[in-house]
Symmetry: C2
Subunit: 621 residues, 2 copies
Amino acid sequence: MNIRSNPDTTRPAVTTGALPASRKIFATPEAAPDLRVPLREIILSEGAGEPNLPVYDTSGPYTDPAVTIDVNTGLPRNRLAWVKERGGVEEYEGRVIKPEDNGNVGAAHAAKAFTAHHKPLRGLDGHKITQLEFARAGIITKEMIYVAERENLGRKQQLERAEAALADGESFGASVPAFITPEFVRSEIARGRAIIPSNINHAELEPMIIGRNFLTKINANIGNSAVTSSVEEEVDKMVWAIRWGADTVMDLSTGRNIHTTREWILRNSPVPIGTVPIYQALEKCNGDPVQLTWELYKDTLIEQCEQGVDYFTIHAGVRLSYIHLTANRVTGIVSRGGSIMAKWCLAHHKESFLYTHFDEICDIMRKYDVSFSLGDGLRPGSIADANDRAQFAELETLGELTKIAWDKGCQVMIEGPGHVPMHKIKINMDKQLQECGEAPFYTLGPLTTDIAPGYDHITSGIGAAMIGWFGCAMLCYVTPKEHLGLPDRNDVKTGVITYKIAAHAADLAKGHPAAQLRDDALSRARFDFRWEDQFNLGLDPDTAKNFHDETLPKEAHKVAHFCSMCGPKFCSMKITQDVRDYAATLNDREQGMAQMSAKFKEMGSDVYLDAEKVKESNRVL
Amino acid sequence: MNIRSNPDTTRPAVTTGALPASRKIFATPEAAPDLRVPLREIILSEGAGEPNLPVYDTSGPYTDPAVTIDVNTGLPRNRLAWVKERGGVEEYEGRVIKPEDNGNVGAAHAAKAFTAHHKPLRGLDGHKITQLEFARAGIITKEMIYVAERENLGRKQQLERAEAALADGESFGASVPAFITPEFVRSEIARGRAIIPSNINHAELEPMIIGRNFLTKINANIGNSAVTSSVEEEVDKMVWAIRWGADTVMDLSTGRNIHTTREWILRNSPVPIGTVPIYQALEKCNGDPVQLTWELYKDTLIEQCEQGVDYFTIHAGVRLSYIHLTANRVTGIVSRGGSIMAKWCLAHHKESFLYTHFDEICDIMRKYDVSFSLGDGLRPGSIADANDRAQFAELETLGELTKIAWDKGCQVMIEGPGHVPMHKIKINMDKQLQECGEAPFYTLGPLTTDIAPGYDHITSGIGAAMIGWFGCAMLCYVTPKEHLGLPDRNDVKTGVITYKIAAHAADLAKGHPAAQLRDDALSRARFDFRWEDQFNLGLDPDTAKNFHDETLPKEAHKVAHFCSMCGPKFCSMKITQDVRDYAATLNDREQGMAQMSAKFKEMGSDVYLDAEKVKESNRVL
């Protein structure tokens, strides 16, 4: 790994290089042999006795040694051809960048502009533009073929090798197929149950899909604030976040240089980028929500559509009549977007312009295929406020808006809480599915207690794993700095790894047909004392190796058949191996362990592996 | 805080001093005015407009500035009088310490012996000794009065101030009363549904209770190994673990100096100490499980009973006939105790001596009131092995042994997994309650995925929170070093805080009547921008403050009405306050918000606060 090692100080340095014992490989979908779908192959040690493990790879070209990275030019714009070849779009001059787009920053504090300029595309009237429109028309796009291949991960071969079906989860009505076909992707998008956030102007994108019948995804938030941090830091945070597994990144920048920062991020991002346009709109009226207008907001939407933002958080569910429902809350309104709109509504004593102009917003976003992330501006900010009327009134409105956006041809997902104790999580998921016609749910946490500032990646990781199991499609990470300050690189990594754990635990519990392959490979490595394989198969090989080396630093120990927990003469795994050897000998003498095993199977030894028994246990709950 | 600041290098230094903005206070139970039950009071800032918050305090005299700590003499032995005054015990010479008790350590490597020697007590035939025996006889002991007061925490007053009942949880059959009375404690112990681990020789103990109708507890493991670490480090790890909230501590030392290390820990520990006696027994036969004998094990039990160990993990459920059930597992037997006994059983082709001598074990432990922690020697070590026949066969045997131990008058809890995906957690809890007559469950994690070595405090914290909600009484922590190495001080703290989060999240979800008081106090502080109060009400004030100061170090910022997430002109909480002010004005003008609120209530605005709705949502699950 090369951390910020670029000797050329005139361009921002970012982290490049492969993860330990990993190489980038590419799959070629049968349906579109010109596509190259990236995977990461984890290379096992010699003598592992099993094949290398391919895993999903969000990291983009940054981990590909064959690619020379130059953030000044940005990533290759491969997707431009896909968009153009299906037609229905036009290139045009685009909106002129105004000083207010960067908060009227003076020359002294202006960030360096991104070098290249790409003219934007927009959809032509009377043509299909969005993935939803293509899907409904029965057309399979390259984006759909790409994500189908990506979700399968090359695990098809591995599953075929596996003796039995691995999936015995409880999916709560989700139906993850054994293999994902492009047609399945199309049908899920047509149904509104999945989205591929993919602005036609984000040509650097490696498409991915969000929906409860696919792998659970995670989002990482980055963004400078008025108080601290720089453009360069934000680009590197994006690269760093996707290195560890962020599926999408939200740029939540405020203050000056917003437009420029976003341009650098988009031109260098292989993952979908989300924003909250109201943040920039607010900057354009000097931070005073009362001064916001529909025209100003609309202009900001177009600005960001042209840049290539893939999804917008839009808090159109914060209606005038809901605001007073928050007055007696312990923590009022904690969403920034929600509070801005609440103040605007009250100041003018008018319905939110996001709600009254929702049709027009749809028309704009459709032209670029920007997906909706309908924001939960009234989400609870404390355990005390969870599942209250304000929260659920807004959710009902989001359901109403989902149908309008779908009618307009737009892709939609729905944002969710927040702070929610464990016993109130499931009702959130159930109600979201019901109100919003199974549009993908995208939740922040939820945090399951308020009492651990500094550890909210953990309070929320618990809730995230649970709601992911219950059907949430994407989990927005929370870092250890939540409520306290801006995350740095270490915090971003901790947040991403924590949420990869939550998402994977959810996939296992849902019964994703291939999720357990990685657990099993790692557990075999652990049991065989293949230390390096154990590190490399984990989510964070560097940390695992460092922790091991703190106690047993010598190379020899990494092949030794003991670990520091027990020491050389006292190791449970070693003893188990002895037990196995002994049992084998014993059984040769005593006419075969196989027979004994068979006998125990007759006695019902597998009863607790039975998926139905497990489901029954959860149903009682 | 004074970290290891003792200038006198001849005695081990440990961490003393109060937590930030905290003072030790004592409650005096009506039923026994001679008892002083410690609490920690978190002192809020002037102008907080609400009372200080008393919280449960596990830290012992180490956080009491009025006590001078000298680990050479140990803690005051207050409980000796309680035991003696109820009679039925005799003081005796006790077993002579043998060289093998410390692994035949030579003079060069011998740890310094603990200075004071206390003659042990043991129960006399025909007398009641254990808390279970007293409880069944309708006798309320001082230990019972003590824990009743401790569980109530002085929150009685606060609850009386609260306008409404706070508890709307889903308890899955647990029934936590609004207030804990000594009689309730007695009845739960008599029923076998709770235990007070309290060896009559652990006179330094501040008693605590483990059971699903009480606060969810956590355990921290410490212990040197053959490879690394010293006596001094282990004593300080114990003090450090209880400082952050460990309710019990297990000393899992192996190698040399085991007896001496344990003596130092016990004489300085205000919390129950648990051990796994087979570890020491194995050291006495040079690490060869085949050489173990009942006599050697029995002698070790008596040695540890006399020292004052409060609970023993005993793997008596690893029966000869279950061992081959593990042969096809991905990770075989991962419990150290389990693998030792498996090897012994196979080597001799005999039933486990722990099983065949179980009656005698009960008779020994009863004499000192050492509680059973019936070990899960066949727990799953990987997702692949969860809930298999080996695991559940053992659990059924633990149920059988529970009844035997109860008949003998012994207190019992049951250990549980291990590695279990989320959808298989509840069946573990359900089966344990059913097989073991509701004896308290004490689980390690469970870890909900295998793929994150270095982060197993998180993979397991998710499972721990869930099983705590479902009814688990005590959660054994997992540190970030799990599977990789021995935890250091930082790892111990991280493990403890993570498990305090899990236990508290469980209490909230179960509907513990007072759990939410702390969440609410912290959330109010957060919303009021009382930064110092927010830090101090959290589980780890130091970390929260440091994180805040990394971004906004100035003192002035800690009273400022904004945070670094948004900056001064763009803060959702500030805007919400504006919204509230505005709403109040508006409503004065428009004839009252109260009327509007009333109208919304009629419309069903409180429906989602209804506990029954929430429970229904979980039942569908």
